[in-house]
């Protein structure tokens, strides 16, 4: 594992460069140049981007600089280079969903989160590679994204390019989507912070759907505070999303602290295994650290993955197939083999099974809510493994592999089903130097609690200071 080396502008946390911009010590033009230089240095090796918007990004940076010099500073994201997964609609810019089916798709309107980032003054430097339609397989037209910690390892997915870009210092945050773990798993594999917000906290409008019931949009960043700053910019009610919630957006940054005295942290036995020993050891040490910081550790029982994940897969499979049916009828050969197979499997699920899964969802929500009257958060591994080899990865398979998919999302999928917020943060490394993710889960709309506890842990450790091991090789090329 490399030593702390965050001295290059491109590798600094978002809030550090935001402070420099606010103080007029740093120009958005220089910052965007640094981000684009880093992009040029690591691409196409990482394969984290499908579209680079260098020209428009520089124009936006010059406009931001002029605004700020006029005294029209918009806030923490003003002049900050970011990217978005290529399933968020961008007006006039191709939105492929990582697919051949939408390879020529140019939307005429921004997704709500893209519009909100733009209103906050963020600079869009590009659109990230992803698994095809966020459905667990790489389309051969795009190819896999490599992990900046080990180029022969997977980033997981489906927000694969977002995870790799943020870890490699290409922009200061990215927007991902998460239906079974697609923000948190790449965050864990790439050693960054990823939030799957409460269902309804962030608008889904303008994101290519995988499963309307379980899709969540959220930020991926290098630190917890950075993540809070991005969520603040994109969260809140949206009349364009019927499931958008009306709960006011709190001041997430004001809620950050470093003392966990009085905080109750739950451990649920169903979420301790199966995890590989190095992952389990890192998570156990993280729990011990939380206790040293003043938290009280309590045993609780969340509804287990064995009940939640099959219901989630039933919902995703049915809804994805319904969404894709027109294309599946007319151009099935344009899908990768595994995604086509998953979509075809969705044709076989009876409506009664789909509705049963929706009833299970309701029942598991009712069972999970009381847990959070006894604890503030529940913690567990984000993934049963650290980054797996690219060769033989689930995303490279030509088959649907429902049971393998269920195993991969064992710890993350349940919270897509019930919609509770879940945050993945770095909590250590395996002996071979791969990052490990710790997942924290809270009650609906309690993202501020997640951030507060995660920030305290982050401040007490130095995991986020480390630069990806393979980055030096990439920059030396």
């Amino acid at each position: 594992v490399s030593e702390p080396l965050r001295t290059n502008l491109a590798d600094l946390p978002l809030l550090d460069v935001a402070a420099k911009i606010a103080a007029k010590e740093l120009s958005p033009v220089d910052l965007t140049t640094a981000a684009l230089d880093r992009l040029a240095a690591v691409e196409p090796e990482l394969n984290a981007f499908v579209t680079v918007l260098a020209e428009t990004a520089m124009a936006q940076a010059r406009a931001a600089e002029a605004d700020i010099l006029r005294g029209e500073y918009r806030g923490l994201l003003h002049g900050i280079p970011v990217s978005v997964k290529d399933l968020f609609n961008t007006r006039g810019v191709r939105t492929s969903g990582g697919s051949r089916v939408l390879a020529e798709n140019v939307p005429d309107e921004d997704a709500t989160v893209v519009a909100r980032l733009s209103e906050a003054g963020a600079i869009l430097i590009g659109k990230n590679n992803m698994l095809e339609f966020a459905y667990a397989a790489v389309h051969p037209d795009y190819g896999p994204t490599k992990n900046p910690w080990a180029l022969d390892r997977s980033t997981s997915g489906s927000s694969s390019g977002s995870g790799a870009a943020v870890a490699a210092g290409v922009g200061f945050g990215s927007m991902g989507s998460d239906t079974g773990g697609s923000i948190r798993l790449p965050a864990a594999f790439c050693g960054i912070v990823g939030l799957k917000p409460t269902y309804g906290r962030v608008s889904r409008n303008g994101g290519v759907a995988l499963s309307w019931s379980c899709d969540h949009m959220g930020p991926m960043t290098r630190t917890v505070a950075d993540n809070a700053a991005m969520l603040a910019a994109i969260a809140g009610a949206d009349p364009k999303d019927s499931t958008s919630g009306s709960v006011p957006v709190p001041d997430y940054l004001a809620a950050l602290h470093t003392d966990l005295t009085g905080v109750r942290v739950g451990i649920s036995s169903a979420y301790r295994t199966p995890a590989e020993p190095a992952v389990q050891a890192a998570v156990e040490e993280a729990i011990a650290e939380l206790e040293r910081l003043g938290a009280t550790i309590l045993d609780v029982e969340l509804p287990p993955p064995s009940e939640a994940v099959p219901a989630l897969i039933g919902l995703i499979t049915s809804e994805a197939t319904e969404f894709h049916l027109p294309w599946l009828r007319t151009r099935p050969e344009d899908y990768s083999p595994a995604v086509r197979e998953r979509l075809e499997l969705g044709l076989l699920i009876p409506a009664t099974d789909y509705l049963h899964a929706q009833r299970v969802r309701r029942q598991l929500i009712d069972r999970a809510l009381p847990v959070f009257s006894t604890v503030d958060v529940v913690v567990m591994p984000t993934s049963p493994t650290a980054a797996t080899p690219l060769e033989g990865d689930l995303s490279a398979s030509d088959e649907a592999d429902p049971e393998l998919l269920a195993a991969a999302i064992n710890f993350t999928g349940p919270f897509d089903l019930i919609g509770f917020p879940a945050l993945s943060i770095p909590c250590g490394f395996t002996p071979s130097g791969l990052p490990v993710g710790l997942q924290l889960v809270a009650a609906p709309y309690e993202e501020a609690k997640l951030y507060a506890i995660a920030h305290a842990y982050e401040q007490a450790t130095n995991w986020v200071d480390r630069l990806p091991t393979a980055l030096g090789d990439l920059l030396g090329k």
Binding site: P310, L328, Q358, R362, E399, P444, Y445
Partner: protein, 71 residues
């Protein structure tokens, strides 16, 4: 191989083809054959879903800001 429960049909290539045809998808015999093992996994997962309370309603349009869990 997933065992069929009472009243459930075994998954065969022909069943896969007929169910797909109901949605307007014409599968070749070879493709239907290849899907059988995956379909057994998929439907096997669904069969693990246990009994639920009779009062549990589908959560089809979820509004978590309207539950007791929201602040």
């Amino acid at each position: 191989m997933t065992e069929s429960g009472p009243g459930e049909q075994a998954i065969t290539p022909e069943l896969v083809r007929r169910l797909s045809a109901l949605s307007g998808i014409e599968l070749s015999a070879e493709r239907a054959e290849a899907l059988v093992a995956q379909a057994e996994q998929q439907l096997g997962l669904m069969r693990t879903l246990g009994a639920i309370e009779a009062t549990a309603e589908p959560a089809a349009e979820l509004r978590l800001d309207r539950t007791g869990g929201a602040r």
